[in-house]
């Protein structure tokens, strides 16, 4: 008897700033939608543990999409994208997410993202607070400089291996070896977009001095960061959460920058606490 997963994949076409994107997403569950953003240079397979977590999908409709140019979501079909350098901006990134939520007719979804997905979660809480029931920025901070590097797509090196091994020690040594190597494997597949994603992560994303304008009564913010994250270390996230009135920070022990794919069972413990807080507050 073949073993089938309950997770279903579909495509939906959306228009964002005149870019026609055919977006691939994975979905499983029912009830409150949770929209999940993968990390830079990666794809939605990072959320495989969450998508098949029966305890979550019993009450939550989990949707994990591939951002345009990642995984099975192509670059725009109506532009000669190969003639332009890809540099993701906060504005375009937010419009993509809001447009996708509209296309899927999601009511009051929770948004969760890790790393550059966590940083855009903060941006959404500031700029689109009424579109989301809450946001869960994972491994995020108000500002995250230092990773917009030429090495990610240097023509004299194996970019797939540079990206994958370059993020290797963003993971905790305690995380299961199989899951760390699967995450490594995913990272060999997105080398051409990693640097452009990191333009948003390290350059365009800068909320210093603006965190006090986030209204957590309209959109609660629950931040979570692993103790082995050297890029957004716990103190950076804690400092960010402290500046958001009503912001909440949860420190995750013995896990790194890719918690949902490097050690899902441990991440799930913290995620369930975040969801419990959202249920209590909204």
């Amino acid at each position: 008897m073949a073993k089938h997963s309950p997770v279903i994949g579909r495509y939906v076409t959306i228009d964002v700033d005149g870019h026609e994107y055919k977006v691939f997403y994975l979905r499983n569950g029912q009830g409150q939608p949770i929209v999940c953003q993968h990390t830079a240079g990666c794809h939605n397979h990072q959320w495989r543990g969450l998508l098949e977590d029966e305890e979550i999908t019993r009450d939550y409709d989990v949707i994990a999409y591939d951002l345009a140019r990642h995984g099975k979501s192509d670059p725009p079909h109506n532009r000669e994208w190969w003639k332009e350098e890809y540099l993701l901006t906060a504005d375009h990134y937010m419009k993509f997410i809001v447009t996708l939520c509209d296309a899927l007719e999601l009511k009051n979804p929770i948004f969760m993202g890790s790393s550059f997905g966590g940083n855009v979660a903060l941006q959404l809480a500031l700029h689109y607070p009424d579109r989301f029931r809450a946001v869960i920025p994972v491994e995020a901070a108000e500002h995250a400089p230092g990773f917009f590097l030429d090495w990610w797509r240097h023509p004299h090196a194996n970019a797939a291996q540079v990206c994958a091994s370059g993020v290797w020690d963003l993971m905790a040594p305690q995380s299961p070896e199989m899951d760390r190597w699967l995450t490594w494997h995913y990272y060999t597949q997105g080398a051409e977009v990693f640097k452009g994603d990191l333009y948003f992560y390290s350059v365009d994303h800068d909320l210093r001095g603006q965190l006090g304008n986030i209204d957590t009564k309209r959109c609660p913010v629950i931040m979570m960061t692993g103790t082995y994250d050297y890029l957004t270390p716990p103190e950076a996230t804690e400092n960010t959460a402290r500046q958001i009135p009503g912001g909440i920070y949860i420190e995750m022990e013995d896990i790194g920058h890719f918690p949902m794919s490097e050690n899902y069972p441990l991440f799930a413990v913290y995620l369930k606490e975040a969801l419990r807080i959202i249920e209590d507050r909204t």
């Binding site: 004299h156 090196a157 994958a164 040594p173 050297y230």
Partner: protein, 129 residues
């Protein structure tokens, strides 16, 4: 007490040469790097995935492609079986601790997969400082 430099070189060479993860993609893993641990310095020369030579007494004009330099205390942290946060890799320690990566970094990037695996062998082999 730290392992002697000579014993360390033998153990490290053996551990690297029999490591299955390096062996799975060993071809072209060819480079020469310096590890500066303060009291101890070594130049490791790799040829097609095997340790060709470990120079345990580098002289001022001995050549290498790239170097990792950090305090002995940091190298001892690298060598713990389960390192503390920010000592768990070369990127982490160069961003958040005193590790300096110098020289021709392109060569390090060209060999990054296997070099990263090899660096983590210190957790099994230890360090001579």
């Amino acid at each position: 007490m730290a392992i002697s430099l000579r014993d360390w070189a033998v153990r490290f060479g053996e551990a690297s040469d029999r490591d299955a993860t390096i062996g799975a993609m060993a071809r072209y893993f060819t480079c020469k790097y310096l590890w500066d641990m303060g009291a101890a310095k070594v130049i490791v020369e790799m040829v097609d995935g095997k340790v060709y030579r470990i120079n345990t007494d580098p002289q001022p004009l001995d050549a290498y492609d790239f170097a990792l330099r950090a305090s002995p205390a940091t190298w001892r942290e690298f060598a713990r079986p389960m390192p503390e946060p920010m000592y768990h890799g070369i990127w982490a320690a160069s961003f958040r601790r005193d590790l300096k990566i110098e020289g021709n970094i392109l060569v390090m990037m060209q060999n990054l997969r296997n070099f990263t695996v090899q660096f983590e062998l210190l957790r099994k082999v230890g360090v001579p400082v």
